[in-house]
């Protein structure tokens, strides 16, 4: 258990909007070990971003509210902490990188200053010491000419470089957990590998655990050790990378893998998951995937399936495995 740095139990987050209550997360549970990279994958609206923001408690409230569950980080339940205590954690123990670095960097402040600010807020170093650390981080993330670079503004950097600045900022205090929310989605393919490799390298150096969120199964397969597949607010399949990709169990996971065009083979038609993602204000009863599932049975419409461990390190929430799994 002390090997675990984060354990999320039954996390439930709703958004109370004008149009109704969006049941964004419904009982999400997973855990991350020390030094592990865990991937959270799913399509739009599955709740992966909401999960990330719930953990770091950046859910705008109103209209959002974490209404249940536990988020146990190094033995403490984050949901029981005050905002003051959370602030001490953010940046120092848990850091986050976002998808679009341009919108998370302040365009009117020099990048060096922004990273320095994070360091000075959480540690008692002198300004000189802080600046030295900033330069050191810039070097670590391979930003050329750090002495010059710290003086520049975000718009003077390319997308890839900005993401490096974000990474430097996030890792400057050697956080225990890094949450990376689609860190390379806005970047060119040729730059993507650089940033992902950087994250992997730094993760190894600092023994940081990473929660890597992406819609790209390729990124997850290459980076993560463990993955949770999310659909409409819950994790439908969860396990180590090899099991999930070599033996996908949940119909949604299979559908997803079948829908992706491959780089190394030719098919005439792609596999299609019929229908579309449900409206989370009026989610389907029972298993939220049942309206689109070719294997849907009566019980699927009534009862939400609980996760079942089908093989070691591989759980799936599907009634198809209810009888077989046990």
């Amino acid at each position: 258990m002390s090997d675990e740095i984060l354990r999320v139990e039954n996390l439930t987050t709703y958004f109370y909007t004008e149009e109704g209550v969006v049941k964004a997360l419904e009982g999400v549970s997973f855990s991350i070990k020390r030094g592990e990279i865990m991937g959270l994958v799913g399509e739009t609206g599955c709740g992966k971003s909401v999960t990330a923001r719930s953990i770091i408690r950046l859910i705008p409230s109103p209209p959002g509210k974490i209404i249940g569950g536990k988020i146990i980080f190094e033995g403490r339940d984050l949901l029981k902490l005050s905002e003051e205590e959370m602030r001490k954690l953010r940046g120092k123990e848990i850091a986050m990188i976002f998808q679009d670095p341009m919108s998370s960097l302040n365009p009117v402040l020099r990048v060096g200053f922004q990273v320095l600010e994070v360091i000075l807020t959480h540690t008692k170093v002198s300004i000189q010491g802080g600046i030295a650390r900033v330069k050191e981080m810039f070097k670590k993330v391979n930003i050329p000419d750090p002495d010059q670079a710290i003086e520049r503004y975000p718009h003077q950097f390319s997308g890839g470089m900005r993401q490096r600045v974000m990474t430097a900022m996030a890792l400057s205090l050697s956080p225990k957990l890094l949450i990376a929310d689609e860190p390379t989605t806005a970047l060119d393919v040729s730059i993507q590998a650089q940033i992902l490799s950087l994250i992997k390298e730094l993760q190894k150096e600092f023994s940081t655990s990473v929660l890597l969120i992406s819609h790209d199964l390729g990124v997850i397969a290459t980076m993560a050790q463990k993955v949770g597949v999310m659909y409409a607010g819950s994790i439908v399949e969860y396990g180590n990378i090899e099991s999930i990709f070599n033996n996908p169990l949940h119909p949604y996971t299979r559908g997803l893998l079948g829908a992706i065009p491959r780089l190394d083979e030719d098919r005439k038609w792609l596999d299609v998951i019929p229908g579309s993602v449900p409206n989370l204000i009026y989610p389907p009863s029972g298993c939220r995937f049942h309206p689109r599932c070719s294997l849907a049975k009566d019980i699927c419409k009534k009862v939400k399936p609980k996760p079942i461990e089908v093989e070691r390190g591989h759980t799936v929430a599907c009634h198809e495995y209810d009888i077989k799994g046990r």
């Binding site: 004008e18 149009e19 409206n279 204000i281 009026y282």
Partner: protein, 283 residues
């Protein structure tokens, strides 16, 4: 599951939340009601003089009392709203037609044409306050028609600017490129694709402008350059009543209050519309 939610309904809900804006709406509706139904709700003929009732005080027969010529003040104020409304309507139509046309052409085509139009608008805007309207009136002579023309022209630059700004922003959208790709003519693009999407800022500007127009008309009326007596225009009424401030201040105060409330109403309504139509601006 109802995904069908009209745009208008969403906007109305947002608008409703702003209580102050609702007050503005109420005032404006009251004003419009008064202006449109004037002759039916005014208790007396606003032109009928009765010197025996000169400066008659507030009473049940004359809720606002009478003015210096014994005319019922309430009726004059009610008719005054009609005059103000006619001026507003006339001016705004002129301003909208010319302003939107110029702004749309300048914004859409850009280049030299745009520069020329904008410089011209700048010249008009360079006139401080209502000097421009004043200048036009002095050239044309004071009358209702000329007042409308003067204030209309004076209001053109704002609409040209707002329309141009909206057109320039909208032009960049892909649906404009798509329209070109299907072979739409420039006129169709401006009329069917650009302007319908520029409505929000234009509507807001129109509402706010109504307030300015009223104020300008009252101001010119006050200076004697608007409609001529005995027509009951609020600004002119205000001006005439100056002499009698000691004797019967209400003869000045009441038209003044009328102006103030209606202007306030349009401003509040305009602000409310601004927030309801562009919710992101507030954030």
């Amino acid at each position: 599951m109802n995904k069908r939610r009209t745009h208008l309904l969403i906007i109305w809900r947002r608008f409703k939340r702003n209580k102050i804006a609702l007050v503005g709406l109420f005032i404006v509706l009251l004003y419009l009601f008064t202006a449109l139904l004037g002759p039916y709700i005014a208790p007396y003929d606003p032109y009928k003089q009765d010197l025996s009732k000169s400066f008659a005080p507030i009473s049940w027969e004359h809720p606002f009392g009478c003015d210096e010529f014994g005319r019922d003040l309430l009726s004059r104020i009610i008719y005054g709203s009609r005059i103000s409304f006619i001026i507003q309507l006339g001016s705004i139509v002129i301003a909208l037609i010319i302003g939107i046309a110029l702004g749309a052409i300048g914004g859409y085509y850009g280049g030299r044409l745009d520069e020329v139009i904008m410089r011209f608008m700048d010249i008009l805007l360079a006139f401080p306050g209502m000097l421009l309207a004043l200048a036009i009136i002095s050239i044309l002579g004071p009358s209702l028609k000329n007042l409308i023309i003067a204030i209309g022209i004076y209001s053109v630059p704002q609409f040209a600017r707002i329309t141009r700004g909206a057109v320039i922003a909208i032009k960049e959208n892909e649906y404009i490129k798509a329209a070109k790709a299907i072979g739409e003519s420039d006129l169709s693009i401006i009329g069917l694709y650009v302007l319908p999407n520029a409505l929000s800022p234009i509507i807001v500007q129109t509402t706010l402008r109504m307030a300015t127009i009223l104020l300008t008309a009252a101001g010119l009326g006050f200076l004697g350059l608007g409609v001529q007596p005995p027509t009951p225009e609020w600004g002119a009424m205000l001006s005439n009543a100056r002499m009698y401030l000691r004797i019967a201040p209400r003869v000045a105060v009441l038209p003044g209050l009328a102006i103030m409330f209606v202007v306030l109403g349009f401003n509040l309504l305009g602000d409310g519309l601004q927030d309801a139509l562009n919710p992101r601006l507030k954030e």
